[in-house]
Amino acid sequence: MPLVYDELRKLAAVKLAQEKPGQTLQATALVHEAYLRLVGSETQRTYRDRSHFFASAATAMRRILVDHARARKSDKRGGDRQRQPLEDVAAPLPDDELLALHEALDELAVEDPLKAQLVELRYFAGLTGNQVADVLGISTSTADRHWVFARAWLQTKVRGLT
């Protein structure tokens, strides 16, 4: 567990070092919030293993992004243009698409929970194909096949049949 903790701290440090000057800290604060929730203490919160940790991290990230997308959507007072949207940090999807993805993922989870988790890990926690395979205990080639399919499937749900 301390290993993962260190990885995260290193990552946080690097992320901060790369921060553009003048950028508001809101997005960063969110990331930190997630980090704090996840790794606030290495002794008290015990993850069963690396896989469990990353799975929790991915879910937390997803929830935070979705919450903020929802908040922005409902917040129509015009202040959100000054408040830097999250895209600057990570370039994820537009809010509508993110929320659609969120729903589609839930749908996928009913049919094929493994693939849904795989997407969460790859997209929301940023794990590579190899790492995902590692975490899920499947071979890399299987993980890759699942990813190709899940992405195509989600795309049809989120972007329609263009």
């Binding site: 690097v14 901060l16 203490s41 991915a58 990570a90 195509a152 499937w153 049809t156």
Partner: protein, 1107 residues
């Protein structure tokens, strides 16, 4: 999902074939076809959809880059030696400074993206003040600067210690001991405050406890660093030091938690000390990790500023199940701990934690003083003392005086009534206190019994033994004590000549531990008890040479020689019959009886040998007189024709490893090596000593008994690495105190084999660790780089090696091959092959992980074996699979099943494949390598090999089935080409384990390296299943045997040839490497292996392009 299957099938086709395929596959199901088409369209046009992750939580390339500063890097005047710590803010290295003084320091490189100039400027501003600090409990900050990569660094006095909380818990310090440890910390902080320095970041990791003279000494580190690196909390900086904040919030004072608060003074440090004190007493900080974990950042800051923490005693009461372990870490019973903390300690802590800093202790010293008052049973300042409180204190402080007074009843009578009331109260209180204290002690003693049991379960016998000694006087009649004592300790019988010798022990695996005194011997054996475990013994008496070594505790005898009576660096070997349990010719060894003799503690060093050379040893005829010179052809030679061969690299007389008549600089304490048997003999004569016979060597080294007494640690500590080490640098002290008998260099013995060689025992660097258990021999002229020796000296008028040699003259070595009737195919199948059969349909339940190790992918799979464990579940086994890169794996990988040498059964874990006899070369050659951790190897090694034949049979079946299950796993993977499966076994893996090729039809080609048939008498009565010879005729696949001409374990004529001749394979080849030993040179063997597998399995296809 039918959609998914079709989707993948189509994707594998060329674009122009897809439509037709889909049309055919959907058989008119238009909906299905449309769904798949939509998916395919999305797949072919992903745009940015999910292209890059929302967040990089895991390794991104930038994170993976190793830090620029690493051991070896020069930073200013400092050279980094090794990393000793890593925190939220930076990485700490041990570094070496040369100018202006040579010393070791700690150097911390700040790693966050901080403004280096500002950091250094802030540090410089405080530098003057920092240099004024001089306190034994402060690690000085010496220097600061910027690295070449632009990161700030700090240089500090090097402290090798543990964080204070960790130290206290690990050493189970009582609350009193903890307070005593905190007092100097307070004083150190006071000292800094007086110099105008505020620490600002007091927390356990900044207070390290190191032991000096076995006394714990706390040292405060990082003074000036916090100030320089952290600004006050602002919107911006709230997040600049995430790691730091995570670690420090718990210790942050309310004023530090305010945004834009610039006004921080010494009382912030007092607050942090209070948090630390809180934690030392209760095991948790006022704001628990758990709580902070669940709480948003701003909310945490609010809690620090506003929330009143629970009193320490209340925290203890609320800590539920954790209280038991918190108390145990403080050597206290839970109720007692709560009682102890309640009251004064509560008050002291709460005073330091006041939100309003004006109500805290004003200085760190006043906190220290109050703690001292508490410890001395004086009233503390922290609370205005009530009358009752003062009285209670007074009574406790004057306990003894009052007792005396109370005893004098007459005197009591003349006291005023008020005073007598006072006295009676005092006496009753005292008696009550003593009674309750005694009852308390008894209760505590009872409660320690489970702790003893727990310690024994964790094999911490020392700890269990210490606890037991503690409680024995309190509850001597407790029925569990005798049994517990038996389980956690061993009884020793100790004797010595002369008497009155001090006997000490030290755990064998802790060379840096101090010696514990056991007992002083008498003129008869004395009994003593020590914790269970493996020990090195030491016996001392002034005026005598000290004796060290291992001893069987049941009867440990120490014979000490007066100083000057025996040469320095020789040790006395007890008389007896040399024992090689279970080894070849053990019966012959046991028939020889040896009197006491002396042996060199160390192998003969270059320095010693140099004296021989400088004294003209090579030119002094008497040292070479009557040596039986023989050439490699076995014919007698004259001394004159041999001497020109005994020269160094430059042609001067001397060992083959020397140059220009001398050893390499700096190697004076290395063993002399590259010497022939003749040179060893001449040196021994020069030194007034002899070479040992194999009996003397065996009696002196006692390898087997050493392993029994010291466990695997004996082997671990001996040197089987790549290079020789100084003879004094080794820690593998043997039974008689000899060092380096096994490993380092092999050692010439006096006597010869039946084929004209000389024995050379003990094994050497780079050889498998089982070599010392065999009887190795070389031609006497052989001057290999690891051929060395040590000498013996005979005492008590023993005639010399010849006398001992006479007794065992008939030693038949090498042992001639044995003939026995073999089985026909049907019998073999019935008696042997069928017994390996298991139900292959049992699921493997694979759990695997894989790591990209650069040149290959390393897969570690846990699979079910074919048999069940003690709990009735399938026993699990790890299979390591190394997949090569750059190989066209579409037809599947070729794989080679690997079976290691016998050292696999001694080593605790599998080595990286580059150290498994260079197995990596096979992977580089394009084949996957499979290493099953079979039962009895590495992590699954057996405790004992000394088992009956039936158990041996069972183990053999487990081995075979484990290998077969590994092959099942390969089959199940689907990416291994099963008709191209090879087997490569080394030594044990080529002999005993190699017989797998006869019972496992899925192997297609085989290489045996360093294999042969063993003919040792001890193996003669084995069951058929255990006899390799029965398997060999039934191996049918192509076999390549690789052997060395000089292999001491499997000699060519007696061992290799008989094995080769028995092989049933129509295609077989035996390559004998000229002059080769047990192991072949890696380049030779891998070329042979590669060629063999290429021929019989086909050449692995390189990938045309990378995926």
């Amino acid at each position: 999902m039918r959609d998914e299957q079709l989707f993948h099938q189509v994707l594998e086709l060329a674009a122009d074939q897809r439509a037709a395929f889909l049309h055919a596959a959907c058989k008119g199901d238009l909906e299905l076809r449309e769904r798949v088409e939509v998916l395919l369209k999305a797949q072919s046009n992903p745009g940015s959809f999910l292209q890059s992750p929302a967040f990089g939580l895991c390794h991104s390339p930038t994170v993976d880059q190793p830090p620029i500063e690493r051991p070896g890097t020069q930073i200013g005047r400092y050279k980094l030696l090794q990393q000793i710590g890593e925190g939220g803010m930076g990485t700490v290295f041990m570094a070496e400074q040369h100018e202006p003084v040579k010393r070791r320091v700690a150097l911390k490189v700040i790693k966050l993206g901080m403004d280096t100039r500002q950091v250094i400027a802030r540090f410089e501003a405080e530098r003057q003040a920092l240099t004024l600090m001089d306190h034994p409990n402060i690690a000085k900050v010496l220097d600061a600067g910027a690295t070449d990569s632009g990161r700030p660094y700090f240089v500090m006095e090097l402290v090798k210690g543990q964080p204070i909380t960790q130290y206290c818990d690990e050493h189970r310090l009582t609350p009193r001991q903890r307070l005593e440890l905190l007092i100097p910390v307070c004083q150190a902080i006071q000292h800094a405050h007086q110099k105008g320095i505020i620490h600002r970041d007091i927390k356990p990791t900044n207070i390290l406890v190191a032991e000096y003279d076995e006394q714990p000494v706390p040292k405060v580190i990082d003074f000036g660093v916090a100030k320089a690196t952290s600004q006050t909390l602002t919107e911006k900086t709230m997040f600049t030091g995430l790691g730091q904040i995570v670690g420090t919030l718990e210790y942050m004072s309310p004023e530090q938690a305010k945004v834009n608060q610039l006004d921080i003074d010494t009382r912030s440090d007092i607050y942090s000390l209070g948090v630390l004190l809180y934690e030392l007493l209760t095991g948790s900080t006022p704001l628990t990790h758990m709580r902070m974990n669940k709480t948003a950042y701003a909310e945490i800051l609010r809690m620090i500023k506003e929330e009143e923490p629970p009193r320490p005693s209340a925290r203890l009461s609320d800590s539920g199940e954790a209280l038991a372990s918190i108390s145990a870490q403080r050597k206290m019973e839970p109720a007692h701990l709560k009682k102890l903390v309640r009251g004064e300690l509560d008050w002291i802590v709460m005073k330091t934690l006041e939100k309003d800093r004006n109500r805290r202790y004003e200085t760190a010293n006043s906190l220290a003083a109050d703690l001292q008052r508490y410890l001395a049973d004086e009233p503390v300042q922290a609370c205005p003392p009530s009358a009752a409180y003062s009285l209670r204190k007074f009574v406790r402080r004057h306990r003894s005086a009052l007792l005396v007074t109370a005893g004098l009843a007459v005197m009591a009578a003349v006291l005023t009534s008020g005073a007598s009331l006072y006295l009676r109260t005092a006496r009753e209180a005292e008696e009550g206190r003593r009674e309750s204290e005694h009852a308390q002690n008894i209760t505590e003693a009872h409660e320690k019994i489970p702790l003893i049991q727990a310690a024994m379960r964790q094999l911490q016998y020392e700890k269990a033994f210490d606890l037991l000694k503690e409680i024995e006087p309190l509850i001597p009649d407790h029925p569990s004590l005798p049994e517990l004592g038996e389980l956690c300790s061993q009884t020793c019988s100790l004797s010595s000549t002369p008497a009155h010798v001090d006997v000490w022990v030290r755990p064998y695996d802790q060379p840096n531990a101090s010696w514990s005194h056991v007992v002083q011997t008498l003129d008869r054996p004395v009994a003593a008890r020590i914790p269970r475990g493996e020990y090195l013994w030491r016996a001392t008496r002034s005026g005598y040479h000290e004796v060290t070594g291992m001893r069987p505790p049941q009867m440990a005898h120490f014979a000490l020689d007066r100083e000057g009576d025996i040469p320095n660096d020789m040790v006395r070997v007890a008389k007896g019959r040399p024992n090689r349990p279970g080894m070849a010719l053990s019966n012959v060894f046991q028939s020889v009886e040896l009197p006491e003799f002396l042996v060199d503690r160390y192998e003969v060093s270059n320095f010693q040998y140099d004296q021989f050379v400088r004294a003209g040893g090579y030119d002094t005829p008497e040292y070479w007189l009557e040596l039986p010179f023989v050439g490699r052809d076995g014919k007698s030679k004259s001394k004159k024709s041999v001497m020109p061969l005994l020269v160094d690299e430059t042609g001067r007389p001397g060992p083959a490893t020397w140059r220009a008549g001398s050893f390499q600089p700096g190697e004076e304490d290395h063993p002399v090596r590259g010497v022939s048997w003749y040179e060893a003999m001449a040196f021994a004569r020069f030194a007034g000593k002899s070479l040992p016979t194999i009996y003397h060597w065996t009696q002196a080294s006692q390898v087997e008994l050493s392993v029994v007494l010291a466990g695997n640690e004996f082997i671990t500590r001996s040197n089987f690495g790549r290079e020789v080490k100084s003879v004094r640098a080794l820690g593998d002290e043997g039974l008689h105190g000899t060092i380096g008998t096994i490993g380092n260099v092999k050692e010439w013995c006096f006597n010869d084999t039946t084929d004209g060689k000389r024995f050379i025992l003990g094994g050497a660097c780079g050889e498998p660790i089982y070599v010392p258990l065999t009887l190795d021999s070389n031609h006497p002229l052989q001057r290999d780089e690891f051929n060395g020796f040590r000498c013996v000296k005979f005492i008590n008028n023993e005639k010399g090696p010849e006398a001992a040699w006479e007794q065992g003259k008939s030693i038949p070595w090498p042992i001639p091959p044995k003939r026995e009737e073999l089985m026909d195919a049907a019998t073999f199948r019935l008696v042997i092959q069928d017994r390996f059969v298991y139900d292959r349909s049992t699921p493997l339940d694979v759990a695997s992980e894989q790591i990209d190790e650069g040149e290959w992918i390393h897969v570690t799979a846990q699979i079910n074996t074919a048999y069940r464990d003690a709990k009735g579940r399938w026993e699990r086994m790890a299979v390591h699979l190394y997949l090569p890169k750059g190989i066209d794996s579409r037809q599947g990988y070729q794989a080679v099943l690997y079976s290691p040498g016998g050292d696999a059964q001694m080593l605790p874990r599998i080595r990286p494949i580059s150290e498994e006899y260079g197995l990596d070369a096979i992977v580089r050659g394009g084949r996957a390598v499979v290493c099953p951790i079979y039962q009895g190897s590495y992590e699954r090694r057996y405790k004992s090999h000394n088992v009956d034949a039936k158990t041996k049979e069972e183990r053999r079946l487990c081995f075979g089935q484990d290998m077969m299950r590994a092959i099942d796993y390969l089959e199940q993977r689907g990416d291994i080409s099963m008709d191209q499966l090879g087997y490569y076994g080394f030594s044990f893996g080529a002999e005993w384990a190699g017989s797998l090729a006869a019972v496992e039809p899925r192997l297609r080609a085989v290489v045996f390296e360093a294999g042969g048939l063993l003919n040792t008498p001890s193996l003669r009565k084995e069951r058929q299943l255990l006899e390799t010879r029965h398997y060999l005729p039934h191996i049918q696949v192509p076999v390549l045997m690789l052997n060395g001409e000089e292999d001491p374990i499997y000699p060519v004529k007696e061992s290799q040839d008989p094995m080769f001749n028995l092989l049933g394979s129509p295609i077989k080849e035996h390559y004998v490497h000229p002059n080769g030993n047990h192991m072949l040179p890696p380049s030779v063997k891998f070329e042979k292996i590669q060629t063999w597998f290429d021929q019989h399995l086909g050449t692995p296809q390189k990938a045309t392009s990378t995926r």
